[in-house]
Chain length 299, copies 2
């Protein structure tokens, strides 16, 4: 059996290949298609689809059944990156070590490619032949709720920067407000990933609840690691511009508590995530994932 990192890499490749094929088979204007391909490709860990497929594997769900749900989720994630990177949003010109979509193409194309990817996420789910209708509807409902939550999170994030104030002064959020913002902005889709795998597996309420807790802790950990990377890492390592948060006055734990306390919190969240999947069989990879994500910033 391949180890954790080999499985992560293999799944990432499977997801990227399948998503690329799927978009290539869509009938749409060439420029839109190329932009969508740009948006879903490039070096990436594919954390969310990996998490969905690994959670489904706990319940012996075949990859053929979980893959469409994983592709749908990755489409929703890539759409959010494309729109968040726009000049009027986070104004990021680098993504996965390559030009952001609106830089590689133009703003109109980026907005439309994002719209098309969000739509595609729901098309994939509704058309997935390997998933039972009742489960499909649950997934569509939960993906809709999660996608709605990440929009709220992005809105709160921009508001916290003072964007909508005449003074343009960044707001000073407290810990609870930052938790809320980040669990919406990053947590929602990561949590959906863990829940979707459980739903595909027909998990009982108690197992769904454990995996939800796992997803919640992992979502916060992931965002915290990202913020730490922004504060302390290089843009080569991050694959995008760094030191942007402080400049934009972004509300992050790192800004509130400092790098050391943020690292301590990172360890705590990794422990919580691990504990939530302690009693599952075949959860070696889910138990390895938190430490792997935390290690990105503690080298």
């Amino acid at each position: 059996m391949p180890g954790f990192e080999a499985t992560l890499a293999r799944d990432a490749q499977t997801v990227e290949n399948a998503l690329t094929d799927l978009i290539k088979n869509k009938t749409c204007p060439p420029r839109l298609q190329e932009a969508m391909l740009h948006a879903v490709s490039g070096p990436a860990k594919r954390l969310r689809p990996f998490l969905l497929m690994e959670t489904a594997r706990l319940f012996s769900v075949a990859d053929a059944m979980s893959l469409p749900a994983a592709l749908s989720l990755e489409c929703a994630h890539c759409y959010s990156l494309v729109h968040d990177d726009l000049p009027c949003m986070d104004d990021d010109s680098l993504r996965r070590g390559r030009p952001a979509l609106h830089v590689a193409y133009d703003e109109a194309t980026a907005i439309l490619a994002g719209d098309a990817l969000l739509t595609l996420a729901f098309e994939i789910l509704s058309g997935a032949k390997t998933i039972q209708p009742a489960i499909k509807l649950m997934l569509i409902g939960e993906l809709g709720a999660a996608a709605s939550t990440i929009v709220s999170g992005q809105m709160l994030d921009l508001a916290a920067e003072g964007r909508f104030e005449t003074s343009r002064m960044p707001q000073r959020l407290d810990e609870a407000q930052i938790f809320d913002l980040q669990s919406r902005k990053t947590g929602a889709l990561i949590c959906y990933a863990a829940r979707a795998g459980a739903l595909l597996g027909g998990a009982d309420a108690e197992k769904i609840s454990r995996l939800t807790r796992y997803g919640e802790a992992l979502g916060l950990l992931y965002q915290l690691a990202d913020d730490l990377l922004d504060a302390t890492g290089s843009s080569e390592k991050a694959g995008k511009a760094v030191a942007k948060d402080a400049k934009a006055g972004k509300a992050t734990f790192v800004a509130l508590l400092g790098v050391q306390a943020a690292r301590t919190m990172l360890e705590k969240l990794a422990g919580q995530a691990r504990a939530a999947v302690e009693h599952f069989d075949k959860a070696e990879n889910l138990r390895a994932l938190p430490a792997y994500l935390a290690a990105r910033v503690s080298e």
Copy 2:
């Protein structure tokens, strides 16, 4: 029984009220919520939800069952208007006689409100308690396909303006290409409206096919009427800026064939639409609709 215009007005009010209530009951940041409310309100005929509900009524479907599908459709339509109006797209500052969303708020808020409305369209469908699961999945699949098609249509429209050429020269499209562009851009959601009503009503293949033809003719008619209004109408009547198509070098039938030939085509499409629903009982309103839309521009 109320006549055609009274039913149209009553349904428009029902849809606006229900959509407003639904958004007010959503948990999301106040600014996002207000922007979504702005996007779905204002004087509008609500053609798509009316068409969906009227088609469903042919099959004696209760409004309580068709209304959620109608609200979902109107969300998808309003999202497309908000994104199309953006400065990097059609750069329209007036919509329904009021400031476009990015003018009333800002670009980031408009993009996010559009994203949230598209997401909401799928959330409403997946959560609709009055619709059977199998029909829900069909509607989600068809709405996804239609939403994907309108993105293609907008992309072709921008390309036809020469946006993506270094020369910035508008392309000269032939009649078939304009048909293709417009059936994607405007036709897809109107056609979905007619099909969705038929699907909700459990219509057989032949009836679905007739209503699809009705929707197709009506979609082309609607866009043609809009183009004629742009070429010949006032901005008060249109509720948005006019004479913009010629300025932008937009590919329209009016630009290709002239006003008189476009009016002749309008009459022809109205006849085709009427003929498609000739043999249905209770289709008085569907038969009245084409002439009503055509009359907007022939006064």
